[in-house]
Amino acid sequence: MDNLQYLLLLFISTVLINNFVLIQFLGICPFLGVSRHVETAFSMGLAATFVMTMTAFATYFINTFILVALNLEFLRYMSFIIVIASLVQFVEMFIKKVSPVLYKALGIYLPLITTNCAIMGMALLIPMNDYNFIESIIFGFGAGVGFTLAIVLIAGLREEAQYGDVPRDLQGMPITLILAGLMALAFMGFAGLAMV
């Protein structure tokens, strides 16, 4: 019971308190690049969440049973990036075969995910925080949900902002950054919600 509560707190903390995008600055490129419309932002979030959960799963095993067991930690970054790149490729092929509808929705976002630093950052934070297997999966999934939440929220704001009277030099990226800043301040209110 205690354990279940802890896992729930870990999830809340990953999604809200230490939100990957707004508090930890991970995954800023897609956050700014693919957030013009709510629907596309949601698809991007979905694809990222899927790959992040899979990555957490795969890198946990590689790290524990290969890198740490054989004392090859200096190959950590190399093996993680290979895992992420292959996983993205594999997921792309798999979805294409199994569900053409889903592929149509997510397909174009998948290649972008390889260089999404939220994925690599998440994979690297797992060994840094000494998470066990279950914690790693929850953390990976929570990181993806947090990313989706942030990108969908900013897309909603941007859809509104384009009707606003934004000064010429602030249009585009600057106003998006300012909106993100206000969101980040709001997200600070979640701190203290759960002490993990």
């Binding site: 690599m120 950052g121 602030l170 950054l177 800043g181 600070m188």
Partner: protein, 202 residues
């Protein structure tokens, strides 16, 4: 020589990675709470960028087109790991401050982007100028951003007290929200400058 200088100058303003190409923003926001951190991040990224541009421009003939990107990533990750261990061994304070964002240089789109756009199509000497120009362009924006944040957030510049003991720190500047706000306003100001004087700066 003038041609090389033009390549170098390109990264400073016209194709500045941060406010023109809009890439490499994660470290830009995350580690710019003090000038020292911002500068160190610029140098670490620059080292990886320069070394991989050199290596890739040298061996580009031997890399088959189909595995171009994976090969670039393997070369980049090698230099990133080197940087991580090197800083950990000889500059532990910097390594602690930048922490996660050193390994994340590997997914900085700036690095891979320059290999694809420049190093894989140009001779080594030109690639070096491109890499150095991009490094300086990336670093100066980081330093300006971190100077603003450190000055108002801590009342200091590179650790030197500026406003004296009576200054109340504007904590928002060091918080994540402050990073987004400052960069947003800074990019707006740079856009304005670019529009007003940009034509003769090219």
């Amino acid at each position: 020589m003038a041609r090389y200088f033009a390549i170098f100058k390109n990264g400073l303003w016209n194709e500045n990675p941060i406010f023109k190409l809009i890439i490499g923003l994660c470290p830009t926001l995350a580690v710019t709470n003090t000038v020292v951190n911002g500068f160190a991040m610029g140098m670490a990224t620059g080292f990886v960028l320069i070394s991989s541009e050199i290596v890739i421009s040298l061996i580009k003939k031997f890399i088959p087109n189909d595995v171009r990107i994976p090969s670039f990533i393997l070369i980049i990750v090698t230099f990133v790991t080197f940087t991580d261990y090197f800083l950990g061994a000889f500059f532990p304070e910097i390594a602690d401050a930048l922490a996660l964002f050193i390994p994340l240089i590997v997914v900085n789109c700036l690095i891979l982007g320059r290999q694809e756009a420049f190093a894989s199509r140009n001779p080594t000497r030109r690639a070096i100028f491109d890499a150095v120009g991009m490094t300086v362009g990336f670093t100066w924006v980081l330093v300006v951003l971190s100077a603003i944040r450190e000055l108002f957030g801590f009342g200091t510049l590179a650790g030197v007290d500026i406003f004296g003991a009576g200054y109340t720190n504007m904590i928002i500047m060091i918080l994540p929200g402050g990073a987004f706000l400052t960069l947003g306003v800074l990019v707006g100001v740079l856009n304005l400058l670019d529009r007003k004087v940009g034509s003769d700066n090219g």
